[in-house]
């Protein structure tokens, strides 16, 4: 009998989806907490200091390619898995009534993920790309007093706040991105624990509730930032 390698086995592939998914959730928690600094300091010094710290910290430098790898594995694997799953039913049903037995989100993780990927492309282009690759006049250096010492750093706050203030399109895209991500997490988070095998009758319910809370926090958290700049200024 063919034992099959772990990587090609259905559960093996899903194991990597779960691990990378949970890793990305951890990244998003850090990402959201730092970005929420945008709305707690109108001078933008808090956010600029955080951005400066992230840009110069050696640990973050190491984590950046790891994060990119996490995204790549999660996305590529999802495509492989989805194709495999679609192949398992060559002839479809004429009539299906799936809304009675499962949620729309749980059945459409691939579509949600795809939409998030589109958002991610735009998001990376408008921020990361300008900060790291091309630069932008809005990023011209400012001096922030850090523990009594003046430190010169890029004005990331100006780049972000200007974009949200001036472009309704970008703001709405970011709100949509936050909501899509939140929805994706409401199924993905508890599902990851199920796949790793850490669930039982009791913990399944607990992880499910936690997943709904995290999803809600992400959706609201990321929507609040553009909304803040749209309404306040």
């Amino acid at each position: 009998m063919s034992k099959g390698s772990f990587l090609s086995a259905s559960i093996g592939r899903k194991f990597f989806m779960s691990i990378t998914g949970l890793f990305l959730v951890m990244f998003i928690i850090v990402h959201l907490s730092l970005n929420l600094l945008l709305i707690f300091d109108d001078k933008g010094e808090l956010f600029n200091m955080a951005a400066h710290f992230m840009a110069t910290n050696p640990l973050i430098k190491i984590m950046e390619p790891v994060l990119a790898l996490g995204f790549v594995i999660h996305i590529v694997w999802s495509i492989v898995i989805t194709i495999q799953n679609m192949r398992a039913r060559p002839v479809g049903y004429n009539k299906t009534n799936q809304s009675v037995n499962s949620t729309w989100v749980s059945r459409n993780m691939f579509i949600l993920g795809g939409l998030i990927l589109v958002f991610l492309g735009l998001h990376i282009y408008s921020f990361w790309w300008k900060m790291k690759i091309t630069g932008d006049p809005l990023l011209s250096h400012v001096t922030v007093m850090q523990a009594g010492v003046p430190v010169e750093m890029e004005n990331a706050y100006k780049l972000v706040s200007t974009l949200f203030k001036e472009s309704l399109f970008y703001s709405l895209i970011h709100i949509a991105g936050g909501i899509l991500l939140g929805l994706h997490i409401t199924h993905g988070f508890w599902s990851a624990f199920q796949t790793i095998g850490l669930n039982n009758q009791i913990w399944r319910k607990r992880f499910f509730v936690v997943a709904q809370i995290i999803g809600l926090v992400f959706a609201i958290g990321f929507s609040v930032i553009p909304l803040y700049f749209m309404i306040k200024f």
Binding site: I11, Q84, N85, N101, S106, G197, R204
Partner: protein
């Protein structure tokens, strides 16, 4: 008390003469069906009518007609085993339908369950998965003393809940990925929870999952649809156990 009579129903059913031939939907009219009759009785009445008209009767799987053999199938109006919870098709009654309804009946759809004829699909794939490891291979000898091997009540209950699986294939039919994970999970769980089954636990999980993949079933995306459509309400927490058993087996290789 007299039953309500459904004066007219339209039965839209999948007809396919053989595995190789192309199938099609046919709609038949049927009259005067008592709401008290079972769904399969309705199909029997329809078949009688078709035979008298010189039409090939609709082939469908059935056996015990009391919800325990796992033989009946049918995807009725978009749901495995029809529009009711925790029952097999044979336990479905016509009181779930109304006058003038069009009832769509399709076979289980999965690459691993090819259609043999009309509504009958080949579920040999489940047998093959079982043969790959769904057993205890020691000679158990005569009937042992009931208390010789103490088993906790919780473990016994969970093993029995998993053992309630009748292998009908509704999980595969319902799953958007045609995944057999609930079936395999039940067959692994019913042994993994008991001391007699633990000895071969690793080999069993590994081999049954390998066979499941080889036969072309899809992967589980945890939608939970199988649990809700399963006539025996097998919990998807058994799937978590299967994942656990499988990963433990693979990591210790």
């Amino acid at each position: 008390m007299a039953d309500i009579i459904l004066k007219k129903l339209y039965i839209k059913v999948w007809r396919q003469n053989s595995p190789k031939e192309k199938g099609r939907f046919e709609t038949y009219e049927i009259e005067n069906i008592s709401q008290g009759s079972s769904f399969l009785e309705m199909l029997d009445i329809l078949n009688d009518k078709l035979i008298l008209e010189g039409i090939d009767p609709i082939a469908f799987d059935h056996d015990c007609r009391e919800g325990i053999c796992g033989m009946c199938s049918l995807y009725i109006n978009g749901r495995a085993h029809g529009p009711d919870r925790e029952i097999t098709t044979c336990q479905l009654h016509m009181r779930k339908f109304n006058e003038g309804d069009t009832i769509t009946i399709e076979p289980w759809r999965a690459g691993a369950f090819p259609v043999i004829k009309d509504l009958i699909v080949d579920r040999t794939a489940f047998e093959k998965i079982q043969q790959a490891g769904g057993f205890v291979s020691v000679n158990t000898g005569g009937i042992p003393d009931g208390n010789a091997i103490p088993i906790g009540q919780d473990d016994a209950e969970e093993a029995m809940d998993a053992a309630a699986c009748i292998g009908c294939g509704a999980c595969v039919a319902t799953c958007k990925n045609s995944s057999a994970m609930l079936f395999v999970a039940a067959k692994v769980s019913q042994l993994a929870k008991l001391p007699q089954g633990k000895v071969e636990a690793k080999r069993r999980a590994r081999n049954m999952v390998a066979k499941m993949d080889e036969l072309g079933f899809g992967g589980c995306t945890n939608t939970g649809a199988c649990e809700l459509e399963c006539p025996k309400s097998i919990s998807i927490s058994h799937i978590a156990r299967l994942n656990r058993e499988y990963l433990a087996a693979k990591f210790s290789e």
